[in-house]
Symmetry: C2
Subunit: 242 residues, 2 copies
DNA sequence: GTCTATAAGATGATAGAC
DNA sequence: GTCTATCATCTTATAGAC
């Protein structure tokens, strides 16, 4: 349930003169298998995130992982399935954490559920991960890109994240029982856009603000995003909404 | 200043048995030149938007435009310059419209500038274009994707759109003179995310809301986005902000 | 499990005829 | 201005040796 530490490249260059020093015969190198598989996932995650799915070749991933492209197909069959594995790996972790966070918030707040509280419980796990490892930062930037791709933005995102979003909205609904569904969904849409642009870490805001804001400054972002979105939810879902 | 109507493909298939029927000799076909150039831009816009820059080949663009890939390089030298031309074409139009809209709002509101008014003046031209032609929808979805690409999200977006954004913030500042710059920039960052996700039109919100919201329903989006963002700006820039 | 070799085709870009 | 032909390289994926 905790993050997998990004393993450093180990057998970067094993091509030499002598016949390659493989695992000792007599015992299937079970550990190494998982090692390479994970290393491929790590490298693919980084490259897909940095350059986009289509700009990355299986060869490039293989090379950076210290293997050949044949190994990519051995473990993942196709490039697309490699992507799916990359995407699902941390999505599963994130979904568990978000669900747990929302559950915990609902339990401890009892009847005093607030919009701020719900949104904070939803955002905190994700933004915390963003502050953790390079791997998570790559992954979350990849989510931001996928979320804006015409086909994938609908399908992949829906498949991966819908249950938690419905859960979030159900908690917010407890804080605003009078809110109409349409308004709740549009409000989430705006919040989602704000979150995804944050995960993208494009440094746009750094330039725009002339260095006064920094894309990766989670401590500055989280409280502001919570307040911004909560006020937004209230203004379009509240009693005064048209 | 109005939108260029998307021209239908005209000379789709001129490859046949006879030597290709080119323009009549004696007069350089000036009109046709611009025709093809624009058609290439239209087609590239559509394909870059639908599949992403890296997934589209110059051959594919050429074919859809009823020409050969050599013509792409004749008019634009490189694939990247083709992209830049696609991106700049409507960015220029949009920038003029947004500036004019902000100017007009500031003029007619005098001293009574409101956050809602400024945001509405900023958003309205863009969302109106989204409701106009396929070409504009493709373009705006492309902007959303570019805005989340690691390199381009910073550089291309900054180069193309920063002046209008600074203008928007300067108008909002008149409505909230006490607001700190950092807060204004972060608030814009959230608004920008909400806008870009809207421009992407991924149908995610349609699925999530089980059809209650439609990605292209500008009449539903604009007023909600204005209220949502205005409330957000006030909540993190207002006197009560920490 | 890991490699080399290769199939089968696509890619960005250019040269040169017309 | 538009084309065909081509270069040199890269692409995903597979076959088969070890």
């Amino acid at each position: 349930m905790s993050a997998a530490p990004a393993p450093a490249l180990k057998n970067v260059k094993k091509k030499a003169t002598a016949p390659s020093p493989r695992a000792k015969p007599g015992r299937p190198p079970r550990a190494l298998d998982q090692d390479l598989r994970e290393r491929i996932l790590d490298v693919a995650e980084e490259q897909f995130s940095k350059h986009g799915y289509d700009a990355v070749s299986t060869r490039a991933v293989a090379k950076a992982a210290g293997a050949t492209s044949a190994m990519i197909h051995y473990y993942f069959s196709t490039k697309r399935e490699l992507f799916d594995a990359v995407f699902a790996r941390r999505a599963d972790i994130l979904n568990v954490e978000r669900m747990a966070s929302l559950d915990a918030y609902e339990k401890r707040s009892g009847k005093d559920v607030s919009v701020e509280g719900a949104i904070e419980a939803f955002l905190a796990p994700t933004l915390a991960r963003m502050d953790e490892t390079e791997g998570w930062r790559y992954y979350l930037a990849l989510v931001a890109q996928v979320g804006h791709k015409p086909q994938w933005g609908g399908e992949v995102m829906t498949r991966s994240f819908d249950p938690v979003i419905q859960r979030l909205i159900s908690v917010i609904r407890k804080a605003m029982p009078e809110a109409a569904d349409v308004n709740l969904y549009w409000a989430y849409h705006f919040l989602s856009g704000a979150l995804l642009l944050t995960l993208a870490e494009t440094d746009r805001i750094d330039r725009l603000s002339n260095g006064q804001c920094r894309s990766a400054d989670i401590d500055a972002i989280l409280p502001r995003m919570v307040r911004f979105a909560a006020a937004g939810f209230r203004s379009i879902c509240g009693a005064a909404a048209k």
